[in-house]
Symmetry: none
Subunit: 299 residues, 2 copies
């Protein structure tokens, strides 16, 4: 294993923060809500749908979770006021999941109720396997209040196919992604080929089961597979969408839209950009190369 | 090709037997029936199903075949007495197939009749392509006597899909594995991807055709594919099982069981452990690395 491999594998503890920041600039809209608004407007004008994420990680203090809730409420107002895509993505641990399930549910429901008043959509993001059950419970709860909510399932999780089976009765809105957290082998398939195959099967099962499916990937094979499935199953354009992260392969984004599919860009913003950026860097060898180049002063 | 590759490819004639023995210890329960009983009890207590194989290869003397038959009869009694999983796997060439088809059929039927009295299951193992027709004939014969018998088809064999078509009317119990003998190209697909794809197709054809299917593999892609097929086709848990060899990837074994699937471990024992262990070594590059390390005195 080279030094470079271990940097990537073990979270690149040696990469100076200012360099991560430089590389992360592409992946994050900025630190303020105004930065996000500008980015959303630009993307909406280009014909892309959007979802906004306030950056932040697990909190252990109630005030921090309540602050995050407040930020999301203000964000919803701003999206409504500015006439932008009213669609947000929230992370349960940032809303206090590790403080307590009931406390977190209060935060989520506060956001969901405001979203309902404004006709906005709320996606509950999925984090590592210690959150899966609780997150699905939150989704079921939110779904009782308002239909414009969705959740996420990860193709690398061994339980995902069974979870789909359990959720289909809700006519759920599911984002399917590969999964990016480091998980033990008994929890997640470690094999690249299996994860891909499971991703395709999950999309097929969702679409055939009447779910709305958000196909979230930058893997061009999976983009193809998604296009093939909606064609083969004759799925209407309003029953699915593709999703991509801000900053990753804007050309592919354009290609998907030009092929007549709906495409949503995941737009994160906020002061807490470091952990998110590190996950992006770990995930993507191309990005990791950028880091190296930056560290070596090549650009 | 390195010396190491040729060792692995051409049967490692240069590997001292004591080293194969050292490596083989994981893959064989021991030399005596008591060793096997201990292993079976431990596995059954862990929630794994089992099948037992008395190690042995092709015989050319009738006394040797009759001795093997006797060993299997005693084994059946022991399983019954000890309250262990009454499930055995037999090799036709060890029961005199190359001496004569009728002679071998007598041996197999002696075992099957005793199994019937004890409510035990008998799997007729598949060997190289010179045995395929005769083995399927033995299976048909045994099936007339007792329904708790099964046979094996190998995904690498070009004839396997046709063989499934011919067997389905029996509502057969089929173990499907990749196949481990060295076969000529006109008999067996040599290509890794083709063997995998043929394996998946065989499982699908068996399950759709109403057969009981034992999915015998350590290839995590194929484990995934099996799980996906039973999910997609809505196959009841008692209509299939996974199978793994003793000593290979116990973590995967646990993962499969914890996911709610039935798992059977193939437990070989006996004095004739050498050829079996050599086939295991050839099959598995990781194992081959163990051999090299043992030869180099690294552990």
């Amino acid at each position: 294993m080279t030094v470079f491999d271990s940097l990537v594998r073990y979270g690149m503890p040696l990469v100076p923060k200012f360099i991560v920041g430089r590389v992360a600039r592409r992946y994050v809209a900025g630190t303020s809500r105004d930065d996000a608004i500008r980015m959303l407007r630009s993307l909406n004008q280009q014909g892309a749908m959007t979802t906004v994420d306030v950056l932040g990680e697990e909190v252990s203090k109630t005030e921090l979770a309540e602050d995050a809730t407040r930020q999301y409420l203000e964000l919803l107002e701003a999206l409504d006021r500015e006439g932008l895509d009213r669609n947000i993505s929230v992370k349960p641990t940032m809303l206090g999941l590790k403080i307590g399930q009931d406390f977190c549910a209060e935060q989520v429901m506060t956001i969901v109720r405001r979203a309902k008043e404004l006709g906005a959509f709320v996606r509950i993001d999925m984090e590592d396997h210690t959150c899966t059950d609780a997150t699905l419970d939150l989704y079921r709860l939110a779904r009782q209040e308002w239909e414009q909510v969705g959740v996420v399932l990860q193709a690398y999780m061994r339980r995902t196919v069974a979870d789909i089976g359990g959720l289909l009765e809700l006519e759920p809105n599911i984002r399917i992604c590969k999964g990016i957290y480091r998980e033990p082998r008994d929890v997640a398939w470690p094999d690249f080929d299996v994860i891909r195959a499971n991703f395709v099967y999950a999309v097929e099962k969702l679409l055939e089961g009447g779910a709305y499916c958000a196909i979230a990937t930058h893997d061009t094979y999976l983009v193809w597979a998604g296009m093939q499935l909606v064609d083969r199953l004759g799925i209407e354009p309003e029953r699915y969408e593709f999703q991509m992260l801000l900053g990753v392969d804007p050309q592919l984004r354009r290609i998907i839209m030009d092929s007549g599919h709906r495409l949503r860009v995941y737009v994160p913003f906020g002061r807490d950009w470091y952990p998110y950026s590190m996950r992006r860097l770990r995930e993507n060898p191309t990005v990791a190369r950028h880091v190296m180049r930056a560290m070596l002063g090549l650009r």
